[in-house]
């Protein structure tokens, strides 16, 4: 039984009006393995998983699903769940105001005499939490858990349904390194208990760490599938098949010619708006030169985003002191508006919720942060708006044929380009980019890196927050590390080294530069 197939998807074709989302896709998963699926955004990974889990019912696609040796014709998720297939989505689906127990048995309540048997439910919940290595009171409300723990509870919920095939869609995209490692370890543990896992992931290092086989999907077609020995994944090969071209270098060559210091933050102190007396920025000081790309590294909760948002017009937290100097002169940025006017731009990490208005089209988004520039008298000049948007669409290579296209019709990478264009149009001197490549596929990432390089070459000061260390090391000139609201150190390009950086990110004693 060791290598029998638990799942075969044969010739799956799924057509949406006008688009062939999946075209004759084949997927074979061996029992008791972790099978990774990778591919660019929009390649059809999620669609394939939705076909498998019955979100798209039998009949709405062509092809066969053979699961445990039988052909399956799922009409909805309930049926696939009954068969032991569970899917854990990128966006968690827990209800924050309910407890762990309530969430685990939601829709699947243990009922005795018409009432929910909480006693038994809780007992089961404790057992399940034990299995996933979470040592928490099952009465805890979900909203009080971290994202990593919530994800574990999702898995516990799947286990409660006696899952045989667990699908995880980008499971670590929102997790920090420690939580990710924990989750991957748990997945290995599940496999030992004869639960097969399918993992959709962008992170090649994770695939390398745990996966036993990889299937690459591109443009709705299976490109290749191969077995790997754990730890021996050829990352370049995966990237080549994902993008259909070889990327010699994942990061463009960046020649830095830093000028004078143009942006200087000193002794910045900010209090957490939610927890009184907790400082989220403790006396932070840093500086950026013109034409320089400065990275900020830190684990989740280190306060990188909070620091930048508090600098960006006190958009976050309660200001307790500190100064900002632009070209040597102190400036006062008390509102987002004044920050924009004084040449600071901030591209937020959460593109969908903070970066743009999804109801808008490209042209409205492009000018949204600098409407003053297209005013003629008191009225907006819509022709000028069109010209500006068109210019940015072309120079940023946004893949769509009109600036009147809605933002929802764009892929993540193209959305991000438009958002970058929106901030470039404010003509900033300092650009703060918060996770600019999150959720973006490899090809688009490269384009974004080139763009960042161009901005630096134009003499702008670029601040880059990223959770991907290779990315930070790949394009920054210097990197600051943050740990729990304190800047713990800074290293220059010559001394770049992942282990050293990680040490500084986790340990305050890392003051050495």
């Amino acid at each position: 039984m060791e290598h029998s197939l638990v799942l075969q998807m044969q010739g799956i074709t799924k057509i949406f009006p006008g688009v062939r989302a999946l075209d004759d896709v084949t997927l074979e998963v061996h029992r008791g393995t972790i099978h990774a699926i990778c591919g660019e955004n929009g390649a059809g990974k999620s669609t394939l998983m939705k076909v498998l889990s019955g979100v798209y019912p039998h009949g709405s696609y062509e092809g066969k699903i053979i699961y445990m040796g039988n052909e399956m014709k799922f009409k909805d998720i309930k049926e696939s769940e009954k068969a032991g297939i569970a899917i854990i989505h990128q966006e968690l689906t827990m209800i924050p105001e309910l407890s762990i127990t309530e969430n685990i048995f939601l829709g699947n309540e243990i009922v005795k005499f018409g009432f929910i048997d909480w006693e038994t439910s809780r007992k089961h919940a404790v057992e399940l939490l034990d299995r996933i290595g979470l040592n928490i009171d099952p009465n805890t409300l979900i909203k009080n858990l971290g994202i990593g723990q919530q994800q574990l509870v999702e898995i516990a919920k799947a286990l409660s349904k006696n899952v045989k095939l667990l699908i995880l869609d980008e499971p670590t995209s929102a997790l920090n390194e420690a939580d990710s490692a924990n989750l991957l370890a748990l997945m290995r543990g599940l496999v030992k208990r004869d639960i097969t896992c399918i993992m959709i992931s962008h992170k090649l290092n994770e695939i390398a760490a745990v996966a036993g086989a990889v299937t690459v999907i591109r443009d709705g077609c299976t490109v290749e599938t191969y077995d790997v020995e754990a730890g021996h994944v050829d990352e370049d090969r995966i990237i080549r098949s994902m993008v259909g071209r070889s990327i010699e270098n994942r990061y463009p060559v960046h020649e830095s010619h830093p000028g004078e210091v143009i942006f200087e933050v000193s002794n910045w102190r900010v209090e957490d708006p939610n927890i009184p007396n907790r400082m989220i920025c403790k006396d932070s000081s840093f500086s950026v030169r013109a034409g320089e790309i400065v990275g900020f590294a830190g684990l989740m909760g280190a306060g990188r985003t909070e620091l930048m948002r508090s600098i960006f017009g006190r958009n976050y937290g309660i200001y307790h002191g500190g100064t900002i100097k632009m070209r040597g002169k102190e400036i006062h940025v008390t509102t987002v508006n004044s920050a924009i006017r004084q040449g600071i731009a901030y591209v937020p990490e959460d593109r969908k919720n903070l970066g743009m208005n999804l109801l808008d089209n490209i042209r409205k988004t492009t000018v949204a942060a600098n409407l003053g520039a297209i005013l003629r008298g008191r009225l907006l000049d819509l022709n000028l708006e069109f010209q500006v948007a068109e210019e940015y669409r072309q120079s940023l290579n946004v893949k769509t044929n009109s600036v009147d296209s809605g933002m929802t019709t764009l892929s993540g990478g193209n959305q991000q380009k438009v958002v970058l264009g929106k901030w470039m149009f404010t003509e900033p001197e300092v650009l703060i980019l918060d996770e600019p490549t999150r959720g973006i596929d490899v090809g688009a990432k490269y384009e974004i890196y080139c763009l960042i390089n161009d901005l630096a070459a134009q003499g702008k000061a670029v601040i880059l927050i990223s959770s991907e260390l290779p990315e930070l090391l790949g394009i920054s000139d210097r990197v600051y590390t943050l740990f729990e609201g304190t800047i713990t150190g800074m290293i220059g390009r010559q001394e770049f080294n992942q282990e050293k950086l990680m040490k500084m990110m986790t340990n305050t004693s890392g003051w050495d530069s």
Binding site: G18, A21, S46, I340, G355, N357, A369, N383, N401, G406
Partner: protein
């Protein structure tokens, strides 16, 4: 079909409610044996609904920012009563009474805006409170008795434009002049738009759709001019209608062509993203609520002028008519979507329904039932359209071929 698309600029769907308006008007004209499309009925239709349409303009903006205002009926009643009482008891000239009443409207708006913007109380609650406060207020200050309104107001709320000049035109010459101005303004605007499009690089445009558009609109305006201008001697396009048209033009411009207008949509579409783009969200909330109550005061004054007296129950239920007009016009409950023009069409659909059903002798009871059903059908139609992946009101912004179907029910940007 392709030609028609060129003329109307892409999507015919956005005109669906306008087409529905024309169709029901024609149907009512048939069922009422020609009593629907008559000068006097059209004149009444406009002057009798101006107040709701004025409210709907403000309500559209409130709904676009993702809020709702339940107090507009009470505020309109209250401010109308203030005007009538100050004019009668204090002997103020009518125009001072009107200004005073508008000022009080603005103050009430500031009060509601304060609770919403500064204290963060949801608009629903803030204005539910306002609805009770000002309904109570109007009964209190009027002691439950109607108060006569200044005579001069009738000119604005149910008056007509003067007749002058030659009689060979066969109609009211003021109305004729208005029609001609309207046609010319439209033609000039279209031509300027065309010229600018030509000037922009890469935009090669054909001229004939512009011409067809101008001819079509001229015919429609000409036809309406004839209807409004050939009523009883001494009647014309109503003055209140003129005030409404002016407001529509002003507010259309504000919402579509000013920074403030853009900010309204930005706040309604995504509050946090708007804040991070430098929009002062609180200020937008405050001003939108202030504007709403100001327009409510104007609506109240117009109504009082037309009915010649301010009553303690004036304005009851108006908020619901205004909200219905906005939603029939395709606005989104969650905010961020909707236009002044579409709202006016929505309001006129309600007005035509009222008028047509009355002409047919359908009672108020059944009229209410039908209006309710129309609201449901209209919004369901809109929701259905959006499910097809295309927001209907801004549908023209989304040409067909760029539509990539989402592989889920929500707009996902990553997979």
């Amino acid at each position: 079909m392709k030609q028609i698309k060129k003329v109307f600029g892409g999507e015919l769907r956005q005109y669906s409610m306008l087409i529905a308006l024309v169709v029901i008007t024609i149907i009512f004209n048939i069922t009422s044996h020609g009593r629907m499309i008559t000068p006097s009925n059209f004149q009444n239709l406009i002057s009798g609904n101006t107040y709701v349409l004025i409210l709907a303009i403000g309500m559209l903006m409130v709904i676009v920012i993702g809020q709702i205002d339940l107090s507009v009926g009470s505020v309109a009643g209250f401010t109308g009563m203030v005007m009538a009482i100050t004019a009668r008891d204090l002997g103020l000239p009518w125009w001072i009474a009107v200004l005073l009443s508008l000022t009080i409207g603005a103050i009430i708006g500031a009060w509601q805006g304060f609770w919403l913007a500064k204290l963060g109380i949801p608009g629903f609650i803030t204005t539910l409170g306002g609805m009770m406060i000002f309904r109570g207020g109007v009964i209190w200050i009027s002691k439950s008795i109607s108060v006569p309104a200044p005579e001069e107001l009738r000119m604005f709320s149910s008056g007509y434009l003067p007749d002058w000049g030659p009689t060979f035109t066969g109609m009211n010459n003021s109305t004729l002049l208005l029609g001609i101005i309207a046609i010319f303004t439209y033609a000039i605007m279209e031509l300027r738009k065309y010229k600018r499009k030509i000037k922009m690089a890469g935009q090669k445009e054909e001229f004939w759709p512009v011409l067809v558009r101008i001819v079509l609109v001229s015919v429609v305006i000409g036809y309406l001019t004839r209807i409004f201008g050939t009523g009883r001697p001494g009647t014309s396009f109503p003055v209140s209608g003129l005030i409404l048209v002016a407001l529509v033009i002003i507010y259309h411009t504000i919402t579509q062509r000013t920074t403030f207008g853009r900010h309204i949509y930005a706040v309604g579409g995504n509050k946090s993203a708007a804040a991070l783009s430098g929009v002062k969200v609180d200020r937008i909330y405050f001003l939108t609520m202030l504007n709403m109550s100001l327009l409510a005061a104007l609506a109240g004054i117009m109504f009082v002028g037309r009915s010649t007296a301010a009553g303690p129950s004036d304005g009851t239920g108006w908020e619901l008519d205004a909200i219905a007009a906005v939603f029939i016009g395709g606005a989104a409950v969650s905010g961020g979507i909707g236009t002044v023009m579409a709202t006016m069409v929505g309001g006129l659909v309600m007005a035509v329904l009222n008028s047509g059903l009355m002409l047919m002798g359908v009672g108020a009871d059944r009229t209410q039932v039908i209006k309710g059903l129309v609201l449901l059908v209209a919004v369901a139609f809109d929701v259905f359209n959006k499910k097809q992946g295309r927001p209907s009101i801004i549908g023209r912004l989304f040409p067909k071929k760029e539509h990539k179907p989402e592989d889920g029910n929500t707009a996902k940007s990553s997979s």
